[in-house]
């Protein structure tokens, strides 16, 4: 069963075709990796799915419903969460508030209630706080940095906070754009462990854009390869790795050969 299906997505910037008739089907509950050369359109695909870019053509189905015309913020409310290639945390807030922001759509307080902070507004804030502490902060082991401003965090921790914020959204599909870029082996292992837990224990479908082939090949169940905005291959990691087109456009001989499991 597919939780997310894209059909014929086409997106152009001036003369550049970022996406050309892209069709992707994401199986529910798995880890789907999107790989491809720089500028192939991976981030653009994520942007199109999360509603930040409006494709010229194509349809998007999510969890059985057509979401092609749904605005970005409403897609998030439906259960599409993501992290960003260039960390995009809110620097004016503490770590905790950043994570709380993920719970935004599950709260109901309006501006008036917020002004007086009485009754429901206060109660739901407290509930959200408890839930975040339990399910996100403890899980990702970031309790010690809760009250720090974002600027004080090392890059790896920032990425983890981004993941925390996305998890606080209680998503059905989690899209991770280069979650381990700039991390060394050890930190990558930590992140891999979180991603696997999210998928296996919480049943959240994961989509992953990543250039670390070690990670992609080890943890994903399904790989889609983009090049020049087009899908050039898809299948299991093992299939994709042997595909000559993928090797020529993306992997290169060395990476393809390395560590054949």
């Amino acid at each position: 069963m597919h939780i997310l299906e894209a059909e014929g997505l086409t997106l152009r910037f001036g003369g550049i075709r970022a996406l050309a008739d892209v069709a992707v089907a994401v199986p529910k509950g798995g880890i789907t990796a999107i790989i491809g050369p720089n500028g192939a359109g991976k981030t653009s695909l994520f942007n199109a799915i999360s509603g930040f870019y409006r494709p010229e053509r194509g349809t998007l189905r999510f969890d059985g419903a057509d979401i092609t015309r749904v605005p970005a913020h409403a897609r998030a409310a439906l259960g599409l969460a993501r992290t960003f290639q260039n960390v995009s945390l809110f620097r004016g807030m503490t770590v905790l508030d950043n994570i709380k922001l993920g719970g935004h759509n599950r709260l109901r307080a309006g501006a008036l209630g917020a002004l007086w902070y009485l009754g429901r507004a206060a109660a739901e804030e407290a509930r959200l706080r408890a839930e975040i502490e339990r399910e996100v902060i403890d899980f990702l082991e970031i309790d010690h940095i809760r009250d720090l401003p974002i600027d004080a965090l090392a890059y790896g921790l920032q990425k983890r906070v981004e993941l925390a914020r996305a998890l606080a959204m209680q998503p059905k599909v989690l899209m991770l754009d280069e979650p381990v870029a700039g991390m060394n082996r050890e930190e990558t292992e930590d992140m891999a462990r979180f991603i696997l837990d999210v998928q296996e224990e919480r049943g959240i479908t994961v989509m992953l854009v990543e250039h670390d082939m070690g990670l992609v090949m080890d943890i994903s169940s399904h790989v889609v390869v983009l090049n020049f905005g087009q899908v050039i291959a898809s299948g299991t990691p093992a299939e994709v790795r042997r595909n000559p087109a993928v090797i020529a456009a993306y992997l290169g001989e060395r990476a393809a050969r390395r560590r054949v499991a």
């Binding site: 981030t43 994520f46 942007n47 930040f52 960003f84 290639q85 260039n86 995009s88």
Partner: protein, 296 residues
Amino acid sequence: MSGAIDWLLLAEFSLVGLLSGGVLALIALGFVLVYKGTRVINFALGEFMMVGAYLFWTANVFLALPWWAALALTLAGVAALGALVERFVLRPLAGQPVISIVMATIGLGAVLHGLAEAVWGGANLSLPELLPRKPLLLGEILLPGQVLWSFALAVALIAAFTAYFRWSKDGVSMRAAASDPVTAYAMGIDVRRTQRLTWMFAGVTGAVAGIIVASMTSLSPSLGTVALGVLAVVILGGLDSIAGAIVAGLIVGLLESLTVAFVGGQARDLVPYLVVLVILMVRPYGLFGTRDIERL
């Protein structure tokens, strides 16, 4: 009245309006230069204009120097002022949010305004005419001389600056420094120098505009308020587009003239602003402004 005369009137208003956009473009240029070099709107531009005009008055009227010597002195003076401002206000603020820097220029404006009033007094002074007044008669249509000449001056200055930014190495360095100062340093660009240069240019164009405006009206510490009205021109053209300044200047000049003609002087500021706002809704970075690259 017959239809024919109405057309003539319309043509006259339009032409005068278009041309008087020259002064607007000249002032707008001052805004654009600073924005291009530092990504800030210089709300003290009006006061730069005012100080420039006062310096010119002092040299030309008070000290009775010939106009070219007075002009040279004035330009040197405002360039120095620009450099000082860069050194003591803008440089320490590097890295602060834009709004803080904008506010600092507002504060700077107040300081210059106050100082000018303390030094030269609050009364109105008048400057001699610099631009030839001889009007040009096109049939029935009369084009005031100073309007024509200020238009020509604006076009010339704008062309010069466009070329400078596009092709000179300093111009490219200035743009690079504005785009990412830290990297610019790492590439061997003396960012302080480029920023100082930016503010010196701003002072110089401001002073030229100020002298022209003051010679058309009168010189008082509040001369600078005209600059605020020109912001409509600047955003219409695009904050960082030099060529946009002239095009938008023409458009707004035309709009103002037609507003005066058919609506009334009380709406003179308003109509252009509203039109600009509508255009901006369609083109959020003005007609020629570079759009920010927004990628996630």
